[in-house]
């Protein structure tokens, strides 16, 4: 259209007044066209959305680790409960690492009165339905350096029956906990081996801890992970403990003194 205007102007000698009008119209049309073009045409049917975006030109998405530090405008004041969870190192390696294992055992012991006690819940619980617990703990979850451990036992429906809340909503609940002289059984640091090179035996019960990969798989803790997660049948090689599993059934009951009159 602007080309037409220039052509007209060059070919005929019109009076200056007409020229001004023509120029104004031409500039106005050009400006409108420019801004319409700049605004993009969202409804333009001829754009091919399936065409690949050239590498390096796409807007990078935020990573989960950045989510906490970046302030996104609509949710700028939102604080995630995630931030209130204690962070816990995530195992990135399958290597056996004693230092990491000892650290993991120490972290683990903070949430248990003794080895074998159900861990306390380290975060506030506002929904007590099992679905709420399973949302994160069903298959385990990793977000940044925080992880939700996977449930190592069958799915029961009343999670708070066994797992004590460490913080409830009881008002004025920040009273220091009582002291105690109880010393809980520590967790074993490794399983016994029949000989060097033999697969270690399970040093703990498999009761309520039957899903081995919950702790020894990807969402487990450093130093405790299996070096061979591809193998599915753990108990093929790793023997369980009949004593710890309370599995001995004989003529007499298990765990009883031989002499019934024994004090």
């Amino acid at each position: 259209m602007s080309m037409d205007a220039n052509d007209t102007m060059s070919r005929s000698a019109l009076p200056p007044r007409s020229l001004h009008i023509v120029c104004t119209i031409a500039i106005g049309v050009a400006l409108v066209g420019y801004f319409v073009g700049q605004g993009g045409n969202r409804t333009r049917p001829d754009v091919d959305r399936s065409a690949p975006v050239p590498i390096g030109t796409a807007q990078p998405a935020l990573s989960y680790t950045e989510l906490r530090s970046r302030s996104l405008s609509p949710n700028r004041d939102f604080t995630s409960d995630l931030a209130r969870l204690a962070s816990r190192p995530v195992a990135d390696t399958l290597r056996t690492d004693l230092a990491a294992r000892l650290q993991s055992l120490a972290d683990r012991a903070l949430r248990r009165s003794y080895n074998g006690a159900p861990p306390v819940i380290p975060h506030p619980v506002d929904t007590t339905s099992p679905a709420a617990c399973l949302a994160c703990h069903g298959d385990g979850l990793r977000v940044g350096e925080r992880s939700a451990s996977r449930i190592p036992h069958d799915r029961f429906l009343s999670c708070l029956q066994c797992h004590a809340e460490s913080r409830t909503g009881v008002p004025g609940g920040d009273i220091p906990p009582p002291t105690s002289t109880f010393v809980g059984l520590p967790a074993p640091q490794s399983g016994a081996r029949a000989y060097q090179g033999a697969p270690p035996q399970m040093p703990h019960t498999s009761w309520m801890r039957g899903t081995c990969l919950a702790c020894h798989g990807p969402t487990g803790m450093p130093g405790m992970l299996t070096s061979h997660p591809e193998r599915q049948n753990c108990r093929q090689c790793h023997a369980s403990s009949a004593t710890l599993d309370q599995a001995i059934v004989g003529s007499g009951p298990l765990f009883h003194s031989a002499n019934e009159d024994a004090p």
Binding site: S129, R155, F156, A164, S166, G169, V170, T179, P263
Partner: protein, 803 residues
């Protein structure tokens, strides 16, 4: 002969295998070789029932170097099948509070000062000897069976004094009177197996998700196995149990009687009641004038006329439960193809009409025929580990004798005198003081008619659990002629006012036996030594008895002049069990239990020999000897398919029927308002109770960090609308005040339990805030059990900061 290439291949293979093995060993060995050996070494495991509630879970106790170091759910236990609750998993820690009592303490000039055991035993014996009739024993549903039996024999057989009553009076006495009035004999006919079979579970004023969590998950976990279980929660506030319920029927406090009558009315009106079952097995009863436990017999027509006014609309008017929900309940009970189990505990028992509502719920089950098949059962639960075993079966109540006998019954007294080898006429025929009366007498000066001067408390904490504490406990202060003896493991609200404190061994620091809610008798052995000078409660009783014997107290001898607790070894030699250094030379528990067992046959509550309980994770009575010498427990009482005492061909037989015709009684009781209702001055209902993490007065659980951290203090649950109109924000300090007393606790709005408008809830575990200074001592006329679930209070905002 091997050719060179073969040799080469073999040696290569061997070398490769060795290298691989070495590599594996090195890879996996690096860490483990430096690690310490397994921590499980030297841990000895043994069974014990859990110390807390009446569920009766078994735990495995891990002991190392004479200390409990771990707990595991016992997978061989039928009750809990390897599961526990938060309290059970931490039960081992209750032994290790830093303030365990380890030496006897006697009050001198207001201060408790350490004394020796000999002096302590002397002090008690001398006080009793001076005036045996003014002595009373206050015991517990946490007493082991042998402890309760020893106390029972000491009081009723030895001192001819019936002033012995347990804290279980405050806990399940109405369940007892309900069973007696309905079946003529105490304790549930069904058992926990019903929970595996029921289609419908009805909780009557009950919150098993927190109070009996293992039983609750035993039912609810069936859903995750694809079974369908309908849960109907009939309650006065929303609880964790409600979250799992399909139906929540919220009723105004005390109106549960109207609901039960409403169901009965519809069953009859719609002809959906079990006419055949009722015709064969039931009779009808109504209250008499004057009121008695067995009331008066009525005809079916009279019964029909009595329940007729309880139309769904009338019930809705009284209770606030929609008429449609009453019809829904009645329709369910009208279906014989469904199995319906009812559960209840303190909601129905701590009730001024506790006997009545217990009878009515049994009545609904009988009328509808939901009885005597697995899954069809009215089952009352107990709150203490041996409320059934020690209190109800041993009969450590002011009116009872062992094995379901009564002090007023001459035959029963004679039987006990014979079994105890006592001179005829030794046992006092007059019932002693029940709990409220006992403490009232103790807190009343002698000049004003208080006839109890010396009171011995074992295994319980009445300074926190009695209702209306100011009147029934605190009033003891300043009465110097009164003497309070307390055997306990920690300092409590009760030891605070004691004149003599005796340090006790607890749980696996002693041998013991408990009896749980489903008639299951359980046994355990001592597994660790008690701290310091702490000693078994049972020994304490026997030691006092022997000191009295030495001082010439005639009651401590049987008719042959032998000591009341004469324990002999296999060679027939007397073992001086009153001397602590010899107490564990024999198993005193076994001796006492074998003696007690002989009382159990009268009411067909047969107990097996002690050794059978050593082998088992508990056995449910009647445990009947089989022709092959084995012992068989009974799961479903009164039902022919399981109960050996039911006559062949009778299907159901109530063989202890009060009417002697094998029939159970279907009762009518009218709804009547409770003694105290909210009014303009005190406009709120107050309900008290427990929470999941704490057990009873918290003297044990408050000393366990994971439990105490979860619920560190008492609070008042408040409806948000009430909070708004009072101007109270969450966490602000609120004064809860009744006509009797007041406490200040922070408000918890939308907390764990959610009371409706006009109703508040305060847990009773917190020693620093005693809600029982607020509750009232009004009690059921038959069971004498007080009502902790309802009284009128007013609330005022005190301050913003609870600290």
């Amino acid at each position: 002969m091997l050719t060179p290439p073969e040799l080469d291949r073999r040696s290569f293979m061997k070398g490769a295998a060795l290298a691989a093995a070495t590599a594996v060993a090195q890879r996996t060995g690096t860490a483990d070789d430096q690690a310490q050996p397994a921590a499980n070494d030297g841990v000895v495991w043994n069974k014990a029932p859990c110390r807390f509630c009446g569920t009766g879970c078994h735990v495995q106790v891990g002991v190392q170097h004479d200390r409990v170091v771990a707990i595991a759910g016992d997978v061989q236990a039928e009750v809990n099948k390897g599961l526990l609750c938060v309290k059970g998993y931490h039960v081992g820690q209750i032994l290790y509070g830093p303030d365990r009592l380890t030496t006897p303490l006697l009050r001198h000039d207001g201060e408790l000062v350490p004394i020796g055991w000999d002096e302590a035993i002397d002090v008690i014996a001398e006080r009793i000897l001076r005036q045996p009739e003014r002595f009373a024993f206050y015991g517990s549903g946490q007493w082991t069976i042998p402890e309760g039996y020893a106390a029972q024999k000491f009081m009723k057989g030895g001192l001819a004094n019936n002033h012995i009553d347990p804290n279980a009076r405050l806990c399940m006495a109405s369940a007892v009177t309900g069973f007696l009035a309905t079946y003529g004999v105490d304790e549930p006919a069904g058992c926990y197996d019903d929970l595996d079979a029921c289609d419908v579970l009805i909780t009557w004023g009950n919150n098993p998700a927190e109070m009996h969590p293992v039983l609750f998950s035993r039912v609810i976990d069936r859903r995750s196995r694809g079974e369908s279980v309908m849960l109907i929660d009939i309650g006065t506030r929303r609880t964790r149990t409600t979250e799992f319920a399909q139906h929540y029927l919220e009723f105004r406090p005390h109106t549960d009687l109207a609901i039960a009558n409403g169901i009965a009315h519809l069953l009859i009106r719609d002809q959906t009641f079990a006419a055949d079952f009722v015709a064969r097995h039931c009779a009808f009863r109504a209250p008499s004038d004057p009121p008695t436990l067995n009331g008066r017999a009525i005809s079916f027509e009279e019964y029909q006329a009595m329940v007729a006014p309880y139309t769904p609309e009338y019930v809705e008017q009284i209770s606030g439960v929609p008429a449609a929900d009453i019809r829904m309940l009645a329709a369910l009970f009208g279906r014989r193809d469904l199995r319906i189990t009812s559960l209840w505990c303190m909601g129905m028992n701590q009730h001024t009409a506790g006997t009545a509502i217990n009878c009515l719920v049994h009545g609904v089950h009988l009328l509808s025929g939901h009885f005597g098949r697995p899954g069809d059962a009215p089952t009352s639960l107990t709150g203490q580990p041996s409320a059934c075993g020690t209190v109800r079966e041993v009969g450590t109540l002011a009116h009872a004798l062992p094995g379901g006998r009564l002090v007023v019954n001459e035959d029963h007294r004679r039987q006990c005198e014979e079994l105890w080898n006592l001179p005829a006429g030794r046992i006092n025929p007059a019932p002693g003081h029940h709990t409220v009366k006992m403490w009232q007498s103790f807190c009343t000066a002698r000049a004003d008619g208080g006839d109890i001067d010396t009171l011995w408390v074992q295994v319980t904490n009445p300074g926190q659990t009695l209702p209306d504490l100011h009147r029934l406990f605190d009033a003891r202060q300043g009465k110097d002629d009164k003497f309070l003896i307390v055997s306990d493991v920690y300092p409590t609200a009760t030891t605070a006012l004691a004149d003599l404190v005796l340090p006790s061994a607890m749980w696996v620091e002693k041998n013991g036996m408990f009896g749980n809610s489903e008639r299951r008798t359980q046994q355990w052995f001592r597994q660790v030594m008690p701290p310091g000078d702490a000693r078994d409660d049972c020994w304490q009783t026997i030691a006092v008895a022997h000191r009295l014997f030495e001082l010439g107290c005639e009651g401590m001898q049987d008719k042959d002049g032998r000591f009341l607790f004469d324990v002999r070894d296999d060679s027939g030699e007397v073992v001086p069990v009153w001397d602590w250094s010899h107490y564990y030379n024999v198993n005193v528990d076994r001796h006492l239990f074998e003696e007690y067992r002989r009382f159990s046959r009268l009411k067909h509550k047969d107990l097996a020999p002690y050794a059978e309980y050593v082998r088992a994770r508990g056995l449910r009575w009647p445990v009947v000897e089989q022709p092959d010498g084995s012992w068989r427990e009974t799961r479903f009482r009164f039902a022919e398919f399981d109960d050996p005492y039911v006559k062949a061909g009778s299907a159901i037989q109530f063989y202890h029927s009060v009417t002697k015709d094998d029939r159970a009684q279907v009762w009518f009781h009218p709804y009547a308002p409770p003694p105290e209702v909210p009014d303009a001055a005190f406009p709120f209902w107050l309900c008290t109770g427990r929470v999941l993490e704490h057990w009873h007065t918290g003297s044990m659980t408050r000393r366990v960090a994971p439990l105490s951290r979860a619920v560190p203090r008492a609070y008042v649950e408040l409806n948000p609308d009430d909070a708004r109109s009072l101007g109270v924000h969450n966490g602000e300090l609120v004064r809860v005040e009744s006509r009797r007393g007041a406490i200040e606790v922070p408000a918890w709005i939308n907390g764990r339990g959610r009371p409706p408008r006009g109703s508040v809830f305060v847990p009773f575990f917190d020693e620093r805030r005693l809600i029982n200074q607020v509750t009232l001592d009004a009690h059921d006329p038959f069971s004498k059990q007080p009502d902790y679930k309802k009284c009128a209070v007013r609330l005022t905002r005190v301050a913003a900061d609870p600290r």
